[in-house]
Point group: C2
Chain length 377, copies 2
């Protein structure tokens, strides 16, 4: 192996599990639609999106980037102005970098994604975290923002809606009210909501919202969207001194490639699936109940209001201590049963999304887990 | 039309010209290889690249991102440490943002890409430009960096190698010497060289090099690479205080999507095509001579050393004043002949890349231009 040409490793990149039942939270909202798969092939070559560019990405008429960004995204996001980003984190950094200055304080929820903290670090900001309620619900009380704002005088507030660990939905609209009263803007990190569930920036009394194409909009990555109120858009989308067609915070153009076209091609289905959100919640709740009957404790809000869930699974952890494959046995057993999404080595907590699976597939997941418990007991 | 549902516009996104002879400088270096096209389909779904992530993008072993970033890219770029970016401009901003502070001066060539200036603006920097020699060659004299450095005390130097207007290759190694003597690092913008021609950071006495997947590495966009010397890598790739697996300047992970897999899948062919660079230069020179026989003046260095070229084409500009389609006639005539890459409306200067076309196809391009001249004369 030591003498193998590293280039040979590039010759056979495959995903043998791609037709498995997928319960991996990162992936269930971004399985491509048929339309996106066709767009992927059509626009695969680098810079295809720019065939008819006249100097600004969001002005391109063919493919209709201009229509998507100006006419379609703002009503969908409930904002005045939208733009394209590489992902939710990149949108957050764009906002931080435009609206704050190094040394400023931003108040966030304790359940925030790690990339929020890294974006803050890159922008030289200090984060103050509103605590959660701890085990087992880890809920964020919107009123906690009031105390944090009074004490720390932040220039901005951010909510993770929902968070990516427990799938909790805090009362974002109330946080928006509190932020508005304090005279600071609220940014909603909707990486796990925009494209899955109905969510409108304005209804949350927010000034910014970010979404993720490759998490929740049936798109290839990297891709994302950023929505803003008109007033803040002037600041975030300020144009360059040297070129009035180029936005500084976008470095001119952001999403100049095929993920943008998959985002656009999937959009009609995404808009339509958002309207079916209640059935997704019902499915998640049914799954949670079945898991609890098996003895797994669901963390986060109950009843649960999102497809993303964590369960404690001490029983698998105990088993992992006694088997040859250690923590990997569970991944292996599930893989053999055509189930994808539990990280190799993971046994103590199961992070699962029910979004892409049918009820019948989820029954099969539950039965498989029961089967594995029996096998190793 | 006013009442058309904007969503309908998303239903039929096609590139009817995708099998044309392509001479568009943005696109000729990023036509996907067969391997990349297969990878595109395999890894189209969002976050597929992260199937086996253990916390850091560049550690992923399947697909072999770790091998690509650690073992393959550094020798290819002639650097110590490499990482992934969304594109050349994003790599430049990462370096600016890590290595400089607002108010600093950076010395660049007058032929720099607009995005260099926008990245500088985003980082709060002042650019000082080393002038070019003006019409018709627009050459940059490396010695010009010496005077600029002595006068303006920049913290960094940048060369565009080659520039994207004329395809000129300045003496980057000499600029690197001058920068080294002045104690400042040099960044090479290789958006049009990395993946097309042999180019090694170390041989140019540089500390940074950026390349573009979607311009010159047969990859879908957005994608890019950044190479660094070991010393500077510590600064640019500093890890987060809150998570030691996450690099601040990458916001944790950058290229978490399908463009990365196309970049990797195409790499063996890219590495091999770079070795054929002399035949590309010979082809470009033959084309330039044929164009000059037709009466077009080639701008930039002569004899030319890159596939990217500009020609003045006053004859088409004069014609455009007299025809019904105005400036669009040339685009239309070429399109009818299966030739893609002259921007709609463009007649005064023709920006052309010979990279993706064969000699026979380029003969056909020249014959077609001659034909159009005859038709409208």
């Amino acid at each position: 192996m030591a003498n193998q040409d590293p280039l040979e490793k590039l010759n056979s990149m495959e995903r043998p599990h791609k037709d498995f039942i997928n319960i991996m939270p990162l992936q269930t909202g971004s399985v491509l639609t048929g339309a996106a798969r066709r767009a992927l092939i059509e626009f695969g070559d680098g810079y295809s999106v720019c065939d008819f560019c006249t100097g600004r990405l969001t002005d391109i008429a063919n493919p209709p980037v201009n229509v998507f960004v100006r006419d379609i995204l703002p009503p969908f996001l409930g904002c005045d102005v939208a733009t394209l980003t590489y992902g939710a984190r990149d949108g957050i950094f764009m906002v931080f970098h435009s609206v704050t200055k190094p040394g400023d304080v931003v108040v966030v929820d304790k359940n925030r994604h790690y990339s929020t903290a890294v974006a803050a670090e890159r922008a030289g900001l200090t984060l103050v975290e509103v605590p959660n309620s701890g085990h087992p619900e880890y809920k964020i009380d919107a009123e906690g923002y009031k105390a944090a704002i009074e004490e720390h005088h932040p220039v901005m507030a951010l909510v993770t809606y929902p968070d990516g660990k427990f799938g909790n939905l805090l009362d974002a609209a109330r946080v928006g009210e509190i932020a508005t009263e304090a005279g600071i803007p609220l940014l909603v990190n909707g990486a796990y909501s925009v494209g899955r569930m109905p969510v409108k920036m304005r209804e949350m009394n927010a000034s910014f919202i970010v979404g993720s194409g490759h998490k929740s909009m049936a798109s290839a990555g990297p891709s994302g969207v950023l929505g803003m109120s008109a007033g803040w858009a002037e600041k975030v989308l300020r144009v360059s001194q040297i070129n009035k067609k180029k936005e500084v915070e976008c470095l001119g153009c952001t999403l100049r490639g095929v993920p943008l076209v998959t985002l656009m091609a999937s959009f009609p289905e995404v808009e339509s699936r958002v309207k079916q959100w209640e059935s997704q919640v019902a499915k998640a709740q049914r799954f949670s109940e079945a898991m609890q009957r098996l003895g797994f404790e669901q963390l986060g809000e109950k009843p649960h209001r999102h497809d993303l869930m964590s369960f404690t699974s001490d029983i698998f952890y105990e088993m992992s201590k006694t088997v040859r494959e250690r923590g990997y046995f569970l991944y292996k057993e599930l893989k053999e049963r055509g189930i994808w999404g539990i990280q190799p080595g993971q046994t103590r907590t199961l992070k699962i999304s029910t979004y892409a699976a049918t009820d019948a597939q989820l029954d099969y997941v539950v039965d498989s887990l029961a089967d594995i418990i029996r096998k190793y007991s």
